[in-house]
Symmetry: C2
Subunit: 613 residues, 2 copies
Amino acid sequence: MFTIRFLPSGRSIDVSSPISVLEAARLARVQIESTCGGKQKCGKCKVVIRNSMPNILPPSAPEKNLLGPDLVAKGYRLACATMATDNLTVFVPRETRTKRQVILTSAQELPSAGSIKPPVLPCHVTVPSPTISDPTADRERLVKAMEMEHGFKVLYTDSLIVRKIPALLRSTKGSVRILVRKGNEIVGIGHQSSNGPYGIAIDVGSTTVVAYLVDLAKTKILSIKSSMNPQIPYGDDVISRISFCQQTEEGLEKLHRSIISCTNSLISEACKDIGISKKEVVEVSVVGNTAMHHFFLGVNPQFVSLAPYAPAISSAQEYKARDLGLEIAPSGYVYFPPVKAGFVGSDAVACLLSTGMYRSRVPSLMIDIGTNGEIALGDRNSIVCCSTAAGPAFEGGHIKWGMRAASGAIERVRIDPHTLEVSLKTIHNNSPIGICGSGLISSVAELIRTGCILQSGHFNDIIKTPRLRKGEEGSEFVLSWKQENPTGHDIVITQKDIAELQMAKGAIRAGISILMESLGRRVRRIYLAGAGGNYIDPLDAQTVDLIPSPSNCQIIACGNAAGHGACLALVDMKKRRDAERIAGKMDYIELAASPRFQDLFVSHMFFPKAIDS
Amino acid sequence: MFTIRFLPSGRSIDVSSPISVLEAARLARVQIESTCGGKQKCGKCKVVIRNSMPNILPPSAPEKNLLGPDLVAKGYRLACATMATDNLTVFVPRETRTKRQVILTSAQELPSAGSIKPPVLPCHVTVPSPTISDPTADRERLVKAMEMEHGFKVLYTDSLIVRKIPALLRSTKGSVRILVRKGNEIVGIGHQSSNGPYGIAIDVGSTTVVAYLVDLAKTKILSIKSSMNPQIPYGDDVISRISFCQQTEEGLEKLHRSIISCTNSLISEACKDIGISKKEVVEVSVVGNTAMHHFFLGVNPQFVSLAPYAPAISSAQEYKARDLGLEIAPSGYVYFPPVKAGFVGSDAVACLLSTGMYRSRVPSLMIDIGTNGEIALGDRNSIVCCSTAAGPAFEGGHIKWGMRAASGAIERVRIDPHTLEVSLKTIHNNSPIGICGSGLISSVAELIRTGCILQSGHFNDIIKTPRLRKGEEGSEFVLSWKQENPTGHDIVITQKDIAELQMAKGAIRAGISILMESLGRRVRRIYLAGAGGNYIDPLDAQTVDLIPSPSNCQIIACGNAAGHGACLALVDMKKRRDAERIAGKMDYIELAASPRFQDLFVSHMFFPKAIDS
């Protein structure tokens, strides 16, 4: 038995067999950045061993390579590559700690209560007492009274409801409030004066999880809580989590349990926020990409990552929330809108629900920006969709100074066209410590506008400024001098970072092009959605050619449209039917099967709005 | 902390606060007889304290009274009345130990597979693989194939089924066996060569629990297992268990958990018996009296014991077995036939199902003998039923030498009319240690036939035999001399025992009379059912006037009809509908509300077939 202690948190874990420092950190609940999920590829999980004579092997050649000679000299190691076999004290530097993400939780309004068909209806009823001449059972008198007073024909009651009926009927003298779900089941029974009913909509992103607590009767969002997806330590993107779950015993179980427990925490927080019991929450809706959807259900998404990328399940489902371990009202349900394909999840369906483009005559394009860019195009008559692996650039991955949209991230850049001086806007206005997705797009857009970047994506060597210089990895542009920030380094955009952005946007634009070919009409409206979407300036997005720039086209940054769509599906049965129809009628184009994708991808890697040479 | 040790088992329990010896025995899982449930009323829980100077209070006056001076002198105590506050060694004499009951498990045949509508159908199906041009989700391809090949329209799948689909479709190349329940849900999925499906029928008696393992496809009973109801330590009859559950914190939970865990053990044993996994059991049916039914569901039956005796729930129900903690196939169901009233349970409905009298033109009487006698009368046009509190006499309660139908119990008695010599038949032909219900009826019938008992129920003083004598509690008849048995005492039938029998049969006969008045036709067939029913000689039953003796009437001892009915409901949906119709059309007569019951009860306490004086 030996102990691995983490500084500065002081958390420790006792283990009895050799273990990587990264795995030990997971067990000790110390959050360490890891984009590759522990595969010694991303180099994000840098730590410093603080023992004077640690009983560990020296770094291997690949580890040294990822760290670079500077950090190796300073004693840095990769947590995933360092095996602990004896007591170890591990310092986790600031840049390695997983930061709390700034999450877009502002949601659009929900439709008014009068215009919807709620899944759960509260009904007040008076149940007569039994008599010696009519000693009908408690449940049967209740069901009969519901038929007489409210016209419900057959009402199913699970055993947890039945258990409550006898005592409640006596303590209330038969005056009770019943929650009827979909007209055929009693999911709650209580005093006439009971609150609610309440519901929770959950948007499970690969990176962030957001919970919306909603008053189902008033269709009003009462509280919004969010959290990092606790699956991040198992891999930053969908593919690395799927491979974790393939390679690790009980990997699926770990991923499933972590998202359920995160959801339960969010439910608790939201309920605490408005002072209700989580047992008053009777309905949940959950959206996410297909892998998140499967992990939430405890279903292995292994075949989602293998051609032909078939999901395990795609149709809309509802289950007793307790069957998935969700801690709400014991008889409550959880609803899952349909997913469309392996890489077009119920989050995309929810985005469409939120934009309403499936009901509109206006030909619209919807882009949900994330590690996978989900794209849909169409109108009330037809919608085509695809998914494109943009890579983690928009979430800070594979970018030298990339980080998530957390405090201190550069989110907006302005470059003076004359002096090429830089002004930065950071999240929470903290000193800059890195660049998030919108900051990268903003930087590149400004570098294009000021002629610092050419159509090819290369830096323009003609520009003379100390900010544009040769670095270790080729040309780079300095956004923040080391004396202006707390990292001790210049924060730069490298030629390689620009190439990452070019690949990401090339993939999305190729997807858009393939979809546009199928539409045959001009797009008149573009919805830019996704956790990144709200922060991306539509103009910047057009400057870097992330989205097309048709004339007479409205561009709507619609924030967390997936979360809004989840709320709509939560409160309104008609929206659930809409979601099911959307998934049914939407055509899916598998880009991997399109022979033209590769050509389009290459041709869209350029910046058409930059100067030519 | 102190220790209570039980001999001869050697089991012990450590406790930290004062506790009755009876409760300590429960915790230590030492089975001690207790008819009254620990209320210091039945005097069955006799033990001997073996410490030389035990730190306990001397027996109180009521305790002394129940034990009698002989046993008090020998150091006997009542386990329920003795509080342990320090280390204690407790000897449990043979007569106090709960014995394993002989349970009637021979059942009638089940209908042939061709004539029934099974709840769960096995279907073989071949599911095509996904392709890049049609990457439909695994579950949706499966559901579609089921529609194409077998015509099922919409099939619900719970999340536990969904989890299995992806890997199974690949490992079987799409050739799978699906278990479809009621045409609308997949409850099992496996290889083409899977066994079963299997089902389990459970008959929950107050005293015994019987499980029947059935091959659902072949409608064949493969194994029968039985056990004492583990709720017995909490009270021997329904009323004392209900009051335990009122007076004890978590009493309901204890009663619920104990019957569920007993059922799980029986399921395991039965599956082990035929070498299958309990995960291959996909359907369960459960019958019992109303209190047992409620305890099984975890529903408090408190109002069943209070006028107007309304059950908490009476209609037929089905739940996921896992929701009640039953360890069968994870997506399997448990079906509960309806109960009729607070004291006419689903066991009575199952008896009617078994006899088939609800489909017959022959006016029939059905009596289910037990602590509560359930009686039904009628034919295909109408059935009336009632329940009568016969008391525990038929199960050995309140009888001086009474015991359950366990090894060594006297079950049949013959008395030579000339010599008045007695020959005994005991269960397993062991030396006699007590008298079970059928033994009591047989004894009294023979005493009536030989003129030893008068119509009034009194012993006939004119008879001269050393066997008929004055004992401590009045006249008594010796069945077994102390030198002929291992108890060290003469085993006798007392005048008080006869009075108990008179009250029990008086109650049943009064119930029968009230029902018969409503029929207005002669009864042509009598079914004698119940755990006791199979052993009771129909002639003995008529001699003691437990059942009427109409001319031209067939008497059928139909054994454990409730268990047989549970098997019918398990295998056949049509029988479930029948059970629901029976409960719907049956008229219930609450004897407590009948002004004539008391008079009839008194008039039926006599023995009309005995000599007059």
